[in-house]
Subunit: 581 residues, 2 copies
């Protein structure tokens, strides 16, 4: 099919640009793209019938690998079905390349099937949007295609990473005849040399001076993939300088003697007098979203005098604590390493033990330890019923070391954050905290399982699970996926948060109980299915559940929403007493 | 909650503007909207957890009733999950009012949860997009809200109808205290008086003259809801003037002695010599999409000298046959009634028997009858295996009179069009032929069943069925819904159309067999489930299936894709022989 040669070449160009994985949803208009990647031979192609799930599977793969994953869909509403994953990828900064087949634009508004206004359809939720020429016989058109695809893949990887949209109008005929040669021409590659932001020497000295002058310094880490080098330098800074390092479960900051991870418990409901002891002069942050309202509200209510944020791209003033004063272009790990290296020698010369800093650290660490005891009291009572929270604690305690943990929105990620993960477990944690929707958590975890040989465990509630069950349909489920489904038969979060819990409309309009168990879904999908409803049962299931096997496994944990609610109320009450002390 | 009083009032305003139905998906940011409609007391509120299904349910209700249906969702990716239904509503011209809750815009790009760039998110796929003020204490802000909502509901109903988007940023706190009074203030209503387009007398006379002067006239009807008055006048024109009236199953033109409905069979593959006898001088059309490629290709290859199209809105040149010469503002039924009334008296005076017209009609009617015999031969052999096509014929033959038939994309609507429906059956046919996606066919039919007491039968293939099975989840399925699932375990259309059927990638990348049956889905959803795989079994199930009952029923028809393929190949072969005669 010589007329579509540029589309055939596109597969080779993706491969040359480092793309290894493609997720395809079936369609006829998209057939030239599908055939180009299917016949390439060196691209891993995964087929998913539901585009919404396909988009999130691609997101999960890219989140896991850091590499751009291509997504191919046909024209029409298929393009919109990808949108929930696209917007999550955009705000979570995950690299996707969306190749959406289209009819030539002259057919728009002509009552032809699957013809919608696709160019720029994702609006501001992609880094850039391209619209390839439908007619590519002219050399300039082919130049535009090659150049645009080079740029698009580059752009998906430039920091902050993110989704890029290439709309591909295709004119019939687009199926090759059976005797037609199908070959890939060597494309021209436009590479971008890697570079990093460097501060001028005087800027750096100024920054060092400002750091030194600040009395109480605190480092808070937003959502970040697990990075051992970052953990090492953060630990050094905490241990040697006495600077509290604070993070949540999605920061991939594990529990150890240095890091402070229980802010959701101990920052909630502090009096202004109590808060004053915790308030930093200088707050240094990096990474993406923070999870809990407790932490965000604390820094908004008690803003630091200075808030520095380190990140590669500084074109936006992202100011979640309403206190930002300085954006520092760069990656956090080299920044911290340089800061530590340059300052530590001075500290050594000065013999500065920073008494005030130590007191400040002590406040944070003591509160963290108290919070640990409180949580332990809440979930460790073996006589109390199995709840979402206590089940989460049991599951996290039993996670195989060096495995991957996916946390679904909305309650599972919060419970898991309350429980935390120990450093020795070496767990990498992921969660869709770009937009924080429940819509693609299952597909995302499945995508991660496809992109790694490690065990991937997903902790998910029933609403998110059933919402996204098409993840399982139409393609085999990878055997290294483990799903713990916390089924309380409702959108449980609405009972737990303050507002809707008090409304008479709670059940009907917010929780929406459905009565589903996952047994049939597991059966349809060929998953190994287990169920439990007590702490003892759960404990007895977990060792088997985490064993490797040739099939994915689903463990349904049945809990009672009223038991969940009363446990949470007890916790809140204990917390209030603790704060009143 | 006085600060949100304008949002409370909004529910009363919707009601006063004629909206009776609201579909709500749970969320916290959207709670003020949800509570406002839930407490109103005179709005029917349906709760659906999956926004994608919710959007299509609303579409089905609005399609059935012709009234605007409101949809409420929370902020973030929820808004994108509605988009597939929005774009279908836009191109199908179905009135929806999309009320999307949002965070106040100052939180965009501040790494807050469920915060995306919502204003204008549906792009050109809504008739208009509003963004309400987040702060409504100023009187002008309240004026803007009332005025915008009035305009939005008006606009959704102005022809062509369609979806309108109102983005609703809401600032906390938004849950009322339990002792807070909750009352609706009487809103100001801006009504729009109905009016219709009138042609000037001299324009009308010119049009009459042009009509009279044209030798071979033909009327072709695109997608339209069933309209008995339209059918009456079309039959008069066909019978008394000898003008062929052509339509497809989605035109709601039933089979009788007058109408020509088998164009998909007899217009396919005609030689230019044969086609010449069928080519009109003047083609008059109205309605929406045409379904089949046969019909569209025929008029593109053999364009009429003049193509007139009657429709209320004339701001777009919609020219699917590449032959349009005249847009006539107005509704088809009054237009045809006036044309008939004005011209028929002249015909009477002139005693004009229009010999040439009668010959032209005869060509179309003869071809239609031949096609009927051909289709009958194909599907009526009781010894051949049950296929999607023959099952469709059996189901259509047994439809209860005066019921509603929903036809899913992609093959079911085509098979049903080949089979057709008899006039005495009085069936109203609906299908999502705006964008023609498979994504929401099940939810749409469920929406229709919620909006009527008639029996609603959906004919659907397995890919569309499982894609949209969340229609069933989280809300009871109306007992007047009947689903006939044609399960051939694949995206069967790819085997039937010419291109992908020849590719070695057919199964893996296009058909995507999944091995699912609907038994578990039916069990989870509490549907009455039946299954059959032979013609005799199907015949024995159908009477029970169509009986009224207190539960929705699902009849799974298991067919073999190779049998489907060979039946279709036989049909094509018979057709080729017929054309070669």
């Amino acid at each position: 099919m010589p007329i579509l040669q540029p589309i055939v070449n596109l597969a080779e160009l993706l491969f040359q640009k480092g793309i290894t994985d493609v997720v395809v949803s079936p369609g006829s208009r998209s057939a030239p793209l599908t055939l180009a990647v299917a016949r390439h031979g060196r691209l891993r192609v995964r087929v998913m019938a539901d585009e919404r799930a396909a988009g999130f599977v691609a997101l999960g793969m890219a989140q896991q690998s850091g590499r751009t994953v291509a997504v191919i869909c046909t024209s029409g509403s298929a393009v919109y079905n990808l949108a929930p994953a696209v917007v999550e990828a955009f705000f979570q900064e995950v690299p996707l390349l969306l190749l959406t087949a289209d009819r030539p634009h002259e057919w728009l508004h002509q009552r032809d099937g699957q013809t919608i206004d696709q160019p720029g359809l994702y609006g501001t939720h992609v880094k850039r949007s391209y619209d390839l020429p439908a007619d590519n016989t002219h050399a300039d058109a082919r130049w535009a295609i090659d150049r645009s695809v080079n740029e698009a893949v580059n752009l998906s990887q430039l920091l902050p990473k993110g989704p890029v949209h290439i709309n591909v109008p295709l004119r019939e005929p687009f199926y090759p005849a059976s005797d037609e040669p199908f070959r890939y021409e060597r494309p021209r590659i436009v590479e971008v040399l890697p570079a990093s932001a460097q501060l001028a020497a005087e800027t750096w000295h100024q920054l060092q001076d400002d750091w030194e002058r600040a009395d109480r310094k605190l480092i808070a880490v937003g959502q970040l993939p697990r990075d051992p080098a970052l953990l090492t330098i953060l630990r050094q800074i905490s241990d040697e300088w006495g600077v509290p390092v604070v993070g949540e479960i999605i920061s991939n900051l594990p529990r150890n003697d240095s890091f402070i991870t229980r802010t959701d418990t101990f920052l909630a409901g502090m009096s202004p007098e109590q808060a004053e002891a915790f308030r930093p002069d200088l707050l240094l942050t990096f990474g993406g979203s923070f999870l809990t309202r407790s932490l965000k509200t604390f820094f908004r209510q008690y803003p630091p005098r200075q808030h520095w944020h380190v990140q590669p791209g500084v074109d936006r003033v992202v100011d979640p604590f309403q206190a930002l004063t300085r954006l520092i272009p760069g990656e956090p790990t080299p920044f911290l390493q340089k800061l530590f290296a340059d300052l530590d020698y001075q500290h050594f010369l000065q013999g500065d033990d920073e008494e005030d800093s130590r007191t400040f650290l002590h406040h944070w660490q003591t509160a963290d330890r108290q919070a640990a005891r409180l949580v332990h009291q809440t979930v460790s009572d073996t006589d109390s019923p199995l709840t979402d929270w206590s089940a989460t604690q049991q599951v996290l305690d039993h996670l195989p070391t060096s495995s991957v943990l996916h946390l679904a929105n909305s309650m599972p990620v919060r419970y898991a954050n309350l429980c935390g993960i120990e450093e020795r477990q070496q767990i990498a944690v992921a969660a869709n905290r770009g937009v924080s929707g429940i819509d693609g958590c299952l597909s995302t975890a499945m995508g991660a399982a496809l992109a790694t040989d490690q065990l991937v465990t997903l902790l998910i509630g029933d609403v998110a699970f059933f919402y996204d069950r098409n993840a399982f349909w139409s393609a085999p489920v990878p055997p290294n996926l483990r799903i713990v489904l916390l089924n309380n038969d409702s959108g449980h979060i609405f009972r737990m948060i303050d507002g809707p819990g008090r409304q008479p409309e709670l059940e009907t309009y917010f929780e929406t109980p459905h009565g589903y168990t996952a047994r049939n879904t597991a059966d349809d999908a060929g998953l190994m299915y287990m169920v439990c409803s007590t702490k003892a049962e759960l404990a007895s299931r977990l060792p088997d559940f985490f064993q490797p096997g040739d099939r994915a496994k689903l463990l349904e944990v049945t809990t009672d929403k009223l038991a969940n609610q009363s446990e949470f109320a007890n916790y809140k009450q204990r917390l209030a007493s603790l704060l009143a002390e």
